[in-house]
């Protein structure tokens, strides 16, 4: 009975064809990558010095790298880490950013000042040195790397959400809800945040791509995932020098990142429409 007025979001999301197709892509890529040990034609660290830097062929569908390792295999294996880190850290960063943003915007005054100055401080610290410091204290496992990256990418979300909240809390419905006895927590979570979901979702989808790239910088510095374990990021880094002459080394990991980030963006787009009741066509 109550479902009738509670969950039109999923129904609406299903109508968004691009978002549904993108969900299939992301899900499919995740599954394939997770199953990499079973699906990949070679071992990801199998060096074959007899066939280095080969262009794509039937034997090596994406070619081979400097050490003759099969690129297709490495893209599959790399995805295991990149996708997880990308999505996990986007969730962590967006969650933290939304929390800080909504508290700052809602309470205003001193709380706002404190939280926003904190945001400024974290923003002003160059990311890379901080990443290096943090990751030297932790192990290069997916969860801690996602956490670290998430902890360094909430600031933009916090600022955007705060701005939204400042505007939303002025609208009468907040006071109306308060006049009916809603608590501050309830006002923030049920009444204000859902109205700010658009920019939050957009920020989250962008964060996925950023996180994948950030992870690669860490790996490049030897602080993230260690070679020979591949990630899309460190594969791109490795291929930088030979981009002009051996383009497949950059194209395939790059395409993989593009596909995931683009799909996540489309999903975000669909979510945004689905969560905004005024964008729904006709009767629900």
């Amino acid at each position: 009975m109550s479902e009738r007025f509670r969950s039109p979001v999923w129904r609406q999301l299903r109508k968004h064809k691009l978002a549904m197709a993108s969900s299939v892509v992301v899900l499919g890529m995740t599954v394939v990558c997770m199953a990499a040990p079973l699906l990949a034609p070679y071992a990801f660290d199998a060096i074959d010095l007899g066939s280095i830097r080969q262009a794509p062929s039937w034997e090596h569908p994406m070619g081979t790298d400097d050490l003759g390792r099969d690129l297709f295999t490495r893209v599959l294996h790399g995805g295991r880490i990149s996708i997880l880190i990308g999505i996990l850290s986007a969730i962590i960063g967006t969650g933290l950013g939304s929390l800080i943003g909504v508290v700052a915007g809602f309470y205003g005054g001193r709380v706002d000042n404190l939280l926003m100055r904190l945001t400024d401080v974290v923003y002003s610290i160059p990311t890379l040195p901080l990443l290096i410091v943090l990751s030297s204290y932790s192990q290069a496992v997916i969860s801690s790397m996602a956490l670290i990256i998430g902890l360094l990418s909430w600031m933009a979300t916090a600022r955007v959400v705060r701005g939204e909240v400042l505007a939303i809390k002025q609208v009468t419905f907040v006071e109306a809800a308060r006049s009916l006895g809603a608590s501050n927590l309830r006002l923030m979570t049920r009444h204000i945040l859902p109205n700010a979901i658009g920019p939050i979702v957009v920020g989250a989808t962008l964060a996925v791509g950023n996180a994948i790239i950030l992870e690669s910088s860490l790996s490049f510095l030897g602080l993230g995932v260690q070679p020979p374990t591949p990630t899309w990021g460190n594969m791109l880094m490795d291929a930088q020098a030979t981009m002009a002459t051996k383009p497949w080394l950059t194209i395939f990991p790059g395409l993989a990142i593009l596909l995931v980030v683009l799909s996540v963006n489309f999903i975000g787009d669909g979510l945004q429409d689905a969560l905004d009741p005024t964008a729904r066509d006709g009767t629900p």
């Binding site: 009975m1 109550s2 009738r4 007025f5 509670r6 039109p8 005054g109 609208v171 009468t172 419905f173 006071e175 109306a176 809800a177 308060r178 006049s179 009916l180 006895g181 809603a182 608590s183 049920r190 009444h191 859902p194 109205n195 979901i197 969560l275 905004d276 009741p277 005024t278 729904r280 009767t283 629900p284």
Partner: protein, 333 residues
């Protein structure tokens, strides 16, 4: 009609802004009996909304602050409540309907969710009971097809329907007081009349007391039992509605009534208006606040704020000269 449900005494609310202290409400007192409809009338900035927000605990703090007075609801002083106690009172004891129905419902939540939220919160109703009750409330406020409307979002309703939903939300927990803050200002005239009729009939059925805040004296004629006229943060006159119309004592009330077009009066020239501007509320003067605009002002008016003086039992007026001025020839019948 006799037992007071709310007693407001000497309520003072001020806003401490960068440009100075705004004296929004300067010691107003009134009482509200059970089942009574009190209209608070005044122009923009006269403090009528702030006085209502004060007894809801909704004055934004800072910059606002309630600096004095009491508001006794069923033996409890509202102004001394803790935030938690306030939440129990809001929606349960006192509920409010706001001016603009287009913005007073949350656009991303369904009508059903917003209606059931206070029910589940205050009455601890189960989801099923809350839905049932919410549907009854929608039917009660004259929303056709309540079952379907519950699944709608606010943008799918018209302005009048939204205001009906707001009224349903406000009354769902059967509060003893309903504060209506110009609930018809944003609606067109025919809908205005419907909303007024609706509130009136709901009052007869549910028996709550109403504080109806408006700048429209004509609107309250058919609705209120008593009218309090506010000017510059003070109540200048308070009387039963018929008496206020028939025999207004305060020069400001007389001016207000003269400025309303009448069907039964011969149309001759433009409607009279009150010259001048309302005072700057940042000045805290001792004079009668209306004296600079008053046609009958004398020197004495500048020497002290006139107290509310009883014309008789339930007619009070804050003017030192009301006795000598007599009935206003321009109004009344």
């Amino acid at each position: 009609m006799t037992r007071p449900v709310l007693e407001v005494r000497d309520l003072v609310t001020r806003f401490h802004t960068d440009e100075g202290v705004v004296h929004a409400v300067n010691g107003i007192s009134y009482s509200l009996s059970e089942g009574e409809a009190l209209a608070i009338v005044g122009e923009s900035g006269s403090g009528k909304t702030v006085s209502a927000l004060s007894i809801m605990g909704l004055v934004p703090e800072p910059p606002g602050r309630i600096e004095g007075g009491t508001a006794i609801l069923r033996g409890r002083d509202l102004l001394q409540l803790s935030p938690t106690e306030w939440r129990e009172v809001r929606g349960r004891e006192i509920a409010m309907v706001f001016q603009d129905p287009m913005t007073s419902l949350n656009p991303v939540l369904t009508v059903g969710y917003q209606l059931t939220e206070p029910l589940r919160r205050h009455l601890g109703a189960s989801r099923h009971d809350a839905v049932e009750r919410a549907r009854e409330m929608l039917a009660l406020v004259g929303i056709p097809n309540p079952r379907q409307r519950m699944a709608d979002h606010p943008h799918q309703l018209s302005g009048g329907q939204r205001q009906r939903v707001m009224i349903a939300m406000a009354l769902s927990c059967r509060p003893s007081i309903l504060i209506a803050d110009e609930p018809t200002t944003a609606l067109d005239v025919t809908i205005q009349a419907q909303i007024v009729d609706l509130v009136k009939s709901l009052q007869e059925r549910l028996g709550m007391a109403i504080i109806w805040i408006t700048h429209d004296l004509a609107l309250v004629a058919g609705l209120a039992h008593r009218v309090a006229v506010m000017y510059a943060g003070t109540i200048v006159e308070e009387a039963p509605v018929a008496e206020l119309y028939r025999d207004p004592k305060h020069p400001y009330t007389q001016g207000l009534l003269r400025s309303i077009p009448r069907v039964d009066a011969p149309a001759c020239g433009p409607l009279p208006s009150i010259d001048g501007q309302p005072p700057d509320l940042r000045m805290d003067s001792d004079a009668c606040p209306f004296s600079p605009r008053c046609r009958h002002a004398v020197e004495e008016c500048a020497t002290g704020k006139p107290p509310l003086d009883g014309v008789h039992d339930d007619h009070r007026v804050a003017c030192i000269r009301w006795r000598e001025l007599g009935p206003d020839p321009g109004v009344g019948t």
